[in-house]
């Protein structure tokens, strides 16, 4: 922990370890991105990738990289970052590592929106994304309203989320049985979460949203940290408790829903990224920035792993994050149980 003070009266506290972790994660995400851009049916050496990205590549590689692979990787980075940040906010607000969007049913809500577009309207990719966005937002809003009772209490929030999740899952199950097999297969691929075939159309909206929401969330990071000590302490310290929660929860729902709309409900990134980030920084508090970069890194590495292990575009990235995340989740449960938490 280091204090930085300027003569003009500005002062900050810098956790050196956290800063190092963030720096390392950024580097890791960039390196993984470059490697991922080179990976695929047509292999491109890393040096060529870097050269092309800097604008000095040959025309063929430029097309493959700038038009096909770069947008896909950018979508991956943005989706990972949005999920990591959204997950960190949710876990901090519910004061529970399992209070993440995966378990609260936001993903299921987005899925319901997407399934309605796929199954009932045979919608285009854009319509499916729109459906997912609306579905996620409606679900987030419903959970908040249903869990609200003189404030939102962490446990009630999680349990209401589980209930909403079950309800939406039933709707999804029904929609799947209504679909013909072609639509059903398309739906299941979407439900797994995938970066295949993502292009600039997905990048821009996500980028704009993140550019607005990330700074907004960061200005609320300090009140959020105070809220971790309980609502009463929050009030005592002069935190506008409900406003902080509404702004942050709204941002988190938007981030998660937008990420889901772009890539499908990639499972477990929102759950694991904040937890891993916290273990790396060894710092209490929401760890928003580390969680965000951890999410981006995780998703890119998982996508690279699935391409290396199963061949290009064979297995969607969501399967890899799902299986890895599931194992991690079980480990978490055992550990937390030993520590007497949860």
């Amino acid at each position: 922990m280091k204090a930085i003070r300027t003569r003009g009266g500005l002062s900050f506290r810098l956790d050196v370890r956290t800063a190092v972790v963030v720096a390392v994660l950024i580097v890791a995400a960039l390196v993984a991105s470059v490697v991922l851009i080179g990976t695929g049916d047509f292999y491109i050496p890393t040096a060529d990738v870097v050269r092309t990205l800097l604008g000095n590549g040959d025309a063929g590689q430029e097309f493959i990289i700038n038009d096909l692979r770069l947008p896909r990787v950018l979508v991956g980075l943005l989706v990972g970052a949005a999920l990591g940040l959204g997950g960190a906010i949710f876990q901090s607000i519910s004061r529970n590592p399992l209070g993440s969007p995966d378990i609260l049913g936001l993903g299921q809500g987005s899925t319901a929106g997407a399934l309605i577009m796929i199954v009932l309207f045979q919608g285009s990719a854009v319509q499916v994304a729109g459906g997912a966005l609306v579905g996620g937002l409606v679900t987030g809003f419903a959970i908040y309203v249903l869990a609200w009772k003189r404030g939102v209490h962490g446990f009630r929030f999680v349990l209401v989320g589980i209930g909403v999740s079950a309800f939406v899952t039933a709707v999804n199950g029904y929609l799947l049985t209504k679909a013909d097999i072609v639509d059903a297969a398309r739906a299941v691929v979407w439900m797994t979460g995938s970066l295949n075939g993502r292009d600039w159309e997905q990048v821009w909206p996500l980028l704009v949203l993140c550019a607005i929401l990330v700074p907004l969330v960061m200005t609320y990071a300090r009140p959020l940290r105070m809220l971790e000590m309980g609502d009463d302490v929050g009030y005592a310290l002069g935190v506008p408790v409900e406003r902080t929660r509404i702004v942050l929860m709204g941002s988190a729902v938007l981030l998660t829903a937008a990420a889901t709309a772009a890539a499908g409900p990639v499972s477990f990134v929102a759950l694991t990224a904040p937890q891993l980030a916290r273990r790396l920084t060894r710092s209490p508090g929401p760890n928003l920035l580390p969680a965000m970069f951890m999410g981006a890194t995780l998703l890119i590495v998982a996508d690279w792993a699935s391409q290396r292990a199963f061949g290009a575009d064979q297995l969607p990235v969501g399967v890899v994050t799902g299986v890895l995340g599931g194992i991690y989740l079980l480990w978490l449960l055992v550990i937390e149980r030993k520590a007497g938490r949860i």
């Binding site: 922990m1 204090a3 930085i4 003070r5 009266g9 500005l10 002062s11 900050f12 506290r13 004061r95 003189r150 200005t219 300090r222 940290r225 105070m226 971790e228 000590m229 309980g230 609502d231 009463d232 302490v233 009030y235 005592a236 310290l237 002069g238 935190v239 506008p240 916290r278 060894r282 710092s283 209490p284 508090g285 938490r341």
Partner: protein, 320 residues
């Protein structure tokens, strides 16, 4: 100022003059609950309750379970919005004040506080500086100094780098008090600060509160369970029952057998605390209480019970 306006309008109405009188005093004392009705959902805990916290006092609120003492404290610290009436801080309705401004005037040690996983004592206490900080002024030299002082005055300075999870209950409570101190508020509210602590830690914490009051001149308001602790440490005592003030004043003036019977429904005897001279409540012996319970309804038995207590009191006095 508003008070004056009402007075000018109807100077003759006895009710108004009484309430303006109260508001006059409100201008004197910094923290006042004025005619508040408190409750959760439909359940009303207290109606038309008026309480003043004398400046520079160590005020203790006592009463049986569910008498509304914690509810009153929550209202005084604006965590509970009264459904009628108002809580005034320095003459302003507390809900209408900016949250950070209140937090710089009025500190609170709540019952339910959560130490985040893996936080150190120093970090936790530092979080008490939040109301004094801004986006661009997050950790000034002054913040650092005050955090150090707060830890020193609560005796947790040497624990600064330890994790809060590792501490004992008594140490942890001191850390939370240090955090509330770092807030640097002239008023400090404590909700049952001694619950779940061993007796020596209870006394520790109360001694600390007394120091804060006497040496730093802060106004303290605490909810306490133990009547004897209250009588020993408080400079001003408020006894509540069923959401109503039964008595308030200096402990030596108001702690009587009748008060304990009215408030707690228990027969007792009051003697002088041999250490401090403050009132000490000694519950009546079982034999005496049974007698008075058996004869409940008939005045004679009650008197006999009282007589018995008196006699016991006399012998106790003789013994000392």
């Amino acid at each position: 100022m508003k008070a004056r306006a009402t007075m000018d309008k109807q100077p003759t109405d006895p009710h108004t003059s009484e309430s303006t009188d109260r508001q006059e005093r409100a201008a004197v004392n910094r923290l006042v609950a004025d005619d508040v009705t408190l409750g959760y959902d439909q359940r009303v805990i207290a109606e038309k309750l008026s309480v003043e916290i004398p400046d520079n006092s160590f005020t203790v609120i006592v009463g049986p379970n569910a008498c509304g003492k914690s509810t009153l404290l929550r209202a005084l610290s604006r965590m509970l919005k009264p459904s009628a009436g108002r809580v005034l801080l320095d003459g302003n309705v507390i809900q209408s004040m900016p949250a950070k401004k209140v937090a710089r005037t009025l500190g609170l040690l709540p019952q339910s506080s959560i130490a985040p996983d893996g936080i150190t004592v120093g970090d936790l206490v530092a979080r008490g500086r939040y109301p004094h900080q801004g986006l661009l002024r997050q950790w000034s030299a002054q913040d650092e100094r005050i955090v150090g002082e707060s830890m020193a005055s609560t005796g947790v300075a040497e624990l600064a780098d330890r994790y809060v999870d590792e501490l004992s209950g008594g140490q942890r409570q001191r850390v939370w008090i240090a955090m509330a101190l770092a807030q640097q508020t002239p008023l400090l509210l404590l909700d049952e600060p001694t619950t779940f602590l061993d007796i020596q830690h209870q006394i520790d914490v109360l001694d600390l509160c007394a120091d804060l009051h006497e040496e730093q001149g802060r106004t303290l308001v605490a909810v306490l369970h133990d009547l004897n602790h209250a009588a020993r440490y408080a400079t001003h005592l408020i006894a509540l029952r069923d959401g109503e003030v039964v008595a308030e004043g200096a402990p030596s003036d108001i702690v009587t057998r009748e008060l304990v019977r009215d408030t707690f429904g228990m027969e007792c005897q009051i003697i002088d605390d041999p250490q401090t001279g403050t009132p000490l409540v000694v519950p009546a012996a079982r034999r005496v209480r049974e007698k008075s319970a058996a004869g409940a309804g008939s005045a004679g038995a009650g008197a006999a019970g009282a007589e018995g207590t008196e006699a016991a009191g006399a012998s106790a006095k003789a013994a000392t």
